[in-house]
């Protein structure tokens, strides 16, 4: 799985849970909450979708790993690969 594929997965989920946000020009290094209007409930939804769609579990004390897109990529890539195997 490439980094771009992981990014696409995360962005597809954000597009579903926040259809009114523009995700076309996100900076991978900047916190998602600074670029998009997302609150903690929305992050719960991201986690919920990861579990539903990819069987990936994100424990509550690791949510902050998902703060930026780059963070999502490094945290989720091994998990997604393991879940797909």
């Amino acid at each position: 799985m490439t980094e771009q594929e992981v990014k696409d997965i995360v962005i597809a989920i954000i597009n579903d849970i926040a259809p009114d946000e523009d995700t076309s020009n996100l900076d991978g290094a900047v916190r998602l909450r600074e670029q998009l209007d997302l609150d903690s409930m929305d992050f719960l939804d991201i986690v919920m979708e990861l579990r539903k769609r990819y069987k990936v579990e994100v424990p509550e004390d690791e949510y902050m790993q998902l703060a930026t897109l780059d963070g999502c990529v490094s945290y989720l890539k091994p998990k997604l690969e393991a879940a797909a195997a």
Binding site: D16, I17, A18, P19, D20, D37, D39, M41, D42, L44, D45, M48, R51, K52
Partner: protein
């Protein structure tokens, strides 16, 4: 038991709260089934056709207008769009121009946002502006949802901000009309929600009526894969060892579900339970009921010089928010709604005027069939003459009138006493004494269309994540 009749969650009622809860629970991956007794969705805010006209059963206005491009702390409508994953355009909301409160010959107009109201108060009650602004400041933001806090009288609290009784009454009236199941008062936490929903964020309306909202919810629910059975009433909830073990339907069939959410109302739901008497929790029955006349007009009210979206009218200085004691209907106060006055882009296909009054529920229920029709016609006539005095004489332009009474409400939604706002005893956490039975909608505590949707979402979040 066949897998087709067991669900993770069964929801009683396809009104706003049931549909919202269903969508939200499906997001959590739950297998959900909504059971609705009627042939149409929507519950208290549904739609029907009569005399060749399409009518909304309830809709005057939606609260919580969300200005496009709004950025700031989460407000209710944003939360609904997000949590239900609906794109805001789906609701086709148009905001009001202005609304007004008229008490005798004193009038306060308000628009969405507090500026207009503050300047009207400055004109009519100059000494009270500072108190009003202090109140508005203290009410900013929303209390945490689902918390069980004891009832606190708004009338008492308001005295600390506003000295002039007339102004207190005028500020209270719209909020009681659109959100208090309590006679003569409202819980202060509820008041805060209503103040923000109605004054700070304000009124709007889906252009084509409530159908737009219902269809958006029904479509979204179908997309999530949820099941919805219409013409499927729940007749009994079988209770054993502190849980609901089975759900009996009107046709005798049985379904089972690990969790049950009910939007039928607190008292109504108690009485469905096999472990409760048929008259359980009498003391929690709601009392506030209404009549409404809906007129179809040849000309828009604007052409008669009446351009307010919603008018809260009261004959004298003191507002009475209770079931009228000795009359079928209380004509001293009313809410006058003009859908055309929300539509600024282009005129609506048909012109309407809706007028609501407080009604005595039991008096309407005890009338014989003929008497009932006669009293209904009398109510419409009397309502028309009072309204003509407030809004201008629209009577020559009326081409059709429909009307409902508390009896109509009970017939179509099952709400006891025709009490639209349900029991004054709200279950703010949504929980009941049974581990797998939850209350959503009206009797969870949040009223109105937006409130009902929020309630469905909030309880679904509790149930779905557990």
């Amino acid at each position: 038991m066949g897998s087709s009749s067991h669900f993770d969650v069964a929801i009683i009622g396809a009104g706003m709260s049931g549909l919202a809860a269903g969508i939200r629970l499906a997001h959590f991956g739950k297998k959900v089934c909504i059971l609705e007794r009627h042939s149409v969705w929507g519950g208290l805010n549904s739609f029907y056709k009569k005399g060749g006209h399409h009518f909304d059963t309830g809709l005057h206005a939606m609260t919580n207008w969300l200005e496009p491009g709004y950025r700031g702390p989460r407000v209710p409508l944003q939360r609904i769009y997000r949590q239900l994953r609906l794109s805001p355009e789906l609701f086709q909301l148009e905001k009001q121009g202005h609304s007004q409160v008229i008490f005798g010959d004193v009038r306060l107009r308000f628009e969405n946002g507090l500026e207009r109201l503050a300047s009207e108060i400055a004109r009519e009650f100059p000494a009270e502006v500072d108190g009003f602004l202090r109140l508005a400041g203290d009410l900013e933001g929303y209390p945490e949802a689902n918390q069980d806090v004891p009832f606190e009288s708004t009338r008492d609290r308001l005295e600390g901000y506003i000295k002039e009784p007339l102004l207190r009454e005028m500020l209270l009236a719209p909020l009681l009309w659109y959100g208090s199941a309590h006679e003569d008062d409202v819980d202060f936490e509820q008041f805060q929600i209503l103040f923000n929903s109605i004054y700070r964020e304000g009124f709007c309306r889906p252009r084509e009526g409530v159908k737009t909202i219902i269809f958006a919810l029904v479509r979204r629910y179908a997309e999530t894969g949820g099941e919805l059975r219409r013409n499927t009433g729940v007749s009994r909830l079988l209770v054993r060892d502190g849980v609901v073990t089975a759900i009996e339907l009107d046709d005798g069939a049985v379904v089972t579900a690990s969790q049950v959410l009910s939007s039928a109302g607190l008292v109504e739901t108690m009485r469905l339970r096999s472990d409760q008497p048929k008259d359980a929790v009498r003391e929690h029955e709601g009392q506030l009921a209404f009549t409404e006349a809906i007129h179809v007009l040849k000309r828009p009210m604007r052409e008669l010089g009446f351009d307010a979206a919603i008018t809260f009218y009261n004959r004298g200085p003191r507002f009475t928010w209770r079931s009228p004691e000795d009359r079928l209907v209380d004509l001293d106060s009313s809410v006058i709604c003009v859908p055309d006055n929300f539509a600024h882009e282009s005129p609506l296909a048909e012109h309407r005027l809706r007028v609501t009054h407080l009604a005595h529920n039991q008096r309407w229920f005890s009338l014989g069939a003929e008497e009932y029709e006669a009293e209904k016609a009398r109510m419409v006539g009397a309502s028309m003459s009072v309204t003509a005095g407030v809004a201008g004489d629209f009577r020559p332009h009326v081409t059709y009138t429909d009307a409902f009474t508390p009896r109509t409400v009970t017939k179509y939604t099952g709400h006891i006493n025709g009490a639209i706002y349900g029991s004054p005893h709200k279950q703010k956490t949504g929980r009941t004494d049974l581990g797998n039975l939850f209350v959503i909608g009206t009797d969870q505590g949040m009223l109105g269309i937006v409130g009902a949707m929020l309630s469905g979402v909030a309880v679904a979040n509790t149930v779905g994540s557990g």
